[in-house]
């Protein structure tokens, strides 16, 4: 008789939330990011997605005492920015930790250029996760910023086969992330880009990934990149938008699409 996973007690599902470093955003998310599941932050460029990721990593250290993993896929990781945010946060609250301590708790992964590489890198985290699990600073947050960069480009003339292969990568990646997050008790935050929605029969389908309603940013309708397959891997989808038209710097709004 094969023995599968053991029964979980519902009551034991209570886990601490990972703060985003802003009480308003945290309240919006019911306390912060939930562990064991995938939260995705979608938005066009300049909607401060990376800023939010870095802030969450800083606060994982300051409020939960947890380490973080930051997988950056868009070139050189913004380490200066991370340091700045750490300094500002440490100055604002009474803590024996220095900005250096905070930054030292973030394990940065770079040079991921395609889906397979990302999947391999995630699976290869297991020894690190196991190593820090017993310490006072186990990993509490894993960030992939962004998922779109290594996976968006399907090649010169993508057909059904390329789409299916990419979809398979999504499901494997989501499974690997959630399995690790579940076993080690950390939250997963993934950023994603947007695609413009063209009016026509495709528009209704685009909305199947946006909670049935149009998502607007800078006055135009968009849909999250990577399609319905990836959308089916996301537990919580957040949409960061520019409220004003024309992409002018102005108020940014965060929507809970589902979750």
């Amino acid at each position: 008789m094969k023995s599968g996973p053991a029964r979980r007690r519902i009551q034991s599902l209570q886990v601490s939330k990972c703060s985003l470093g802003c009480p308003i955003l945290d309240a919006f998310l019911g306390g912060g990011l939930s562990s064991g599941s995938i939260t995705e932050l979608v938005g066009e460029a300049t909607t401060a997605k990376t800023q939010l990721c870095l802030q969450a990593l800083v606060h994982a250290r300051l409020s939960l005492g947890g380490s973080g993993v930051y997988i950056y896929t868009e070139g050189d990781p913004p380490l200066d920015r991370l340091h700045q945010l750490a300094q500002a946060a440490v100055a604002r609250r009474k803590t024996p930790l220095s900005a250096g301590d905070v930054v030292a708790g973030v394990f940065v992964e770079r040079g991921v250029d395609c889906g397979e590489a990302l999947l391999a890198r995630v699976k290869a985290l297991q020894p690190l996760l196991a190593r820090v699990a017993g310490t006072p600073a186990p990993v509490r947050l894993l960030v992939v910023d962004s998922l779109a960069a290594p996976l968006r480009d399907l090649g010169p003339s993508p057909g059904r086969r390329e789409l299916l292969a990419r979809a398979q990568t999504f499901f494997r990646l989501a499974a690997a992330l959630r399995a690790l997050a579940d076993r080690h008790g950390f939250a997963v935050l993934v950023t994603n880009q947007v695609t413009d929605v063209v009016a026509g029969p495709g528009a209704a389908l685009a909305r199947s990934a946006t909670g049935g309603a149009p998502l607007l940013t800078s006055g135009r309708e968009v849909t999250p990149a990577l399609g319905l397959a990836w959308a089916s891997c996301v537990n919580t989808r957040l949409f960061a938008a520019h409220a004003a038209g024309g992409g002018a710097p102005g108020p940014r709004v965060l929507h809970l699409v589902w979750g």
């Binding site: 008789m1 094969k2 023995s3 599968g4 996973p5 053991a6 029964r7 979980r8 007690r9 519902i10 009551q11 599902l13 209570q14 019911g30 939930s34 064991g36 599941s37 995938i38 059904r160 299916l164 292969a165 979809a167 398979q168 499901f171 494997r172 989501a174 499974a175 959630r178 399995a179 997050a181 579940d182 029969p201 495709g202 389908l205 909305r207 199947s208 990934a209 909670g211 049935g212 309603a213 399609g227 319905l228 397959a229 959308a231 089916s232 891997c233 996301v234 537990n235 989808r237 699409v257 589902w258 979750g259």
Partner: protein, 353 residues
């Protein structure tokens, strides 16, 4: 003795609602499905049952139309459903999710497939004296969608609802049963298994027979979702098809042998539009072989910003669609505008036993 509805010993309002809905003879009332009767006449399920008892008594005394013991038993069995708390959904499903069958719920993300699974895992626990199954649920979570917060919200709402019903009309044991259904009890009655891949899913399903034999109180098995573990490996389609067929068969055997309802959630994908022809549309994943496995299939979709469900395969119900809501309390129906009631009350009450 006339067999007209107007002569049944019921309150006049109830009688006029029944006739207005087209049930003019006692025989029509006696032979109708209780949930259908309640929905069509816009009365509570309780009133519908009371009407049926009266109609039964009337028709039996006329010999013709007497219900045999077997017919009564079959009607009991068939009418044992797990309600969803949305009158529209319950109605199109024929009273709720049926036992001894596999009901597939497919749809895109954010529509509430997981919410529906969680709602059913609580509704199966509705005590006998409220017309429920008083059972437990086995929940296989393959996507990490079941959260303590959300289940707590839904459990609290269900408990509050039962207490209100118990207070509104004193029926033996109800107040006690409602009080006994605490959060703790409701959580203990959900047997949760978290699976991350196909191997783990298959292991849990393999162990189902033993688990259900050891816990006969379990009357519902939910798998959310059946799609996620299978979509991780496209490589060997033939193997996947075989595994799916086997899985379907195991689940069907378990459903019948242990008299449980099996509910599986499934994803959708875009089927490419034909060149110069039909536009692209959304179809369930897992292919044609899988399509034959489910006894009943419900497709959830968006229409003009509203959530709708379409029943497109069923052994007994015609194809039909309805709107449903995902609220702070769980799955609910849309309140009829004319009906004023306390927050959260809705037509769902009409179909609830």
């Amino acid at each position: 003795m006339t067999s007209d509805v107007s002569s049944l010993p019921l309150c006049p309002t109830l009688r006029s609602k029944l006739s207005a809905a087209g049930f003019t003879s006692a025989a029509a009332v006696a032979q109708a499905d209780p949930a259908r009767l309640a929905a069509d006449a816009a009365v509570t399920l309780e009133d519908a049952q009371r009407a049926q008892h009266a109609a039964d008594a009337r028709t039996r005394s006329g010999l013709a139309g007497a219900l045999s013991a077997k017919a009564l038993y079959d009607r009991e069995r068939r009418s044992q459903r797990i309600i969803t708390f949305c009158a529209g959904l319950d109605s199109i499903l024929g009273g709720g999710v049926g036992l001894q069958q596999i009901t597939e719920v497919c749809g895109g993300p954010g529509l509430g497939k997981t919410q529906l699974g969680m709602q059913l895992a609580l509704d199966v626990q509705i005590p006998d004296c409220f017309g429920g199954l008083g059972g437990e649920a086995l929940y296989v979570d393959a996507e990490g969608g079941l959260t303590l917060e959300r289940l707590t919200q839904m459990a609290d709402a269900l408990a509050a609802h039962l207490r209100r019903v118990a207070a509104a009309r004193a029926v033996a044991r109800r107040a006690q049963a409602a009080a006994a259904l605490t959060r703790e009890r409701m959580f203990d009655a959900v047997h949760l298994y978290r699976v991350h891949d196909l191997a783990e899913l298959l292991a849990v399903v393999d162990g189902l027979v033993a688990t259900l034999a050891a816990r006969p109180a379990i009357r519902l098995v939910v798998v959310d979702s059946i799609a996620f573990p299978f979509r991780q490996d496209h490589a060997d389609l033939a193997a996947r098809t075989r595994q799916l067929a086997q899985l379907g068969q195991s689940l069907m055997e378990v459903a019948v042998a242990h008299d449980v309802a099996v509910v599986l959630t499934n994803h959708v994908t875009t089927r490419p539009g034909e060149d110069g022809g039909a536009p692209p549309r959304l179809i369930p994943v897992l292919g044609d072989t899988w399509a034959h496995v489910a006894t009943s299939r419900l497709m959830l979709y968006w229409e003009a910003g509203a959530r709708r469900a379409f029943l497109y395969k069923s052994p007994s119900q015609p194809p039909a669609s309805c709107e449903y809501l995902v609220t702070g309390e769980g799955i609910r129906g849309r309140r009829q505008p004319a009906k004023r009631g306390p927050e959260g009350e809705c037509r769902g009450e009409a179909a609830k036993k």
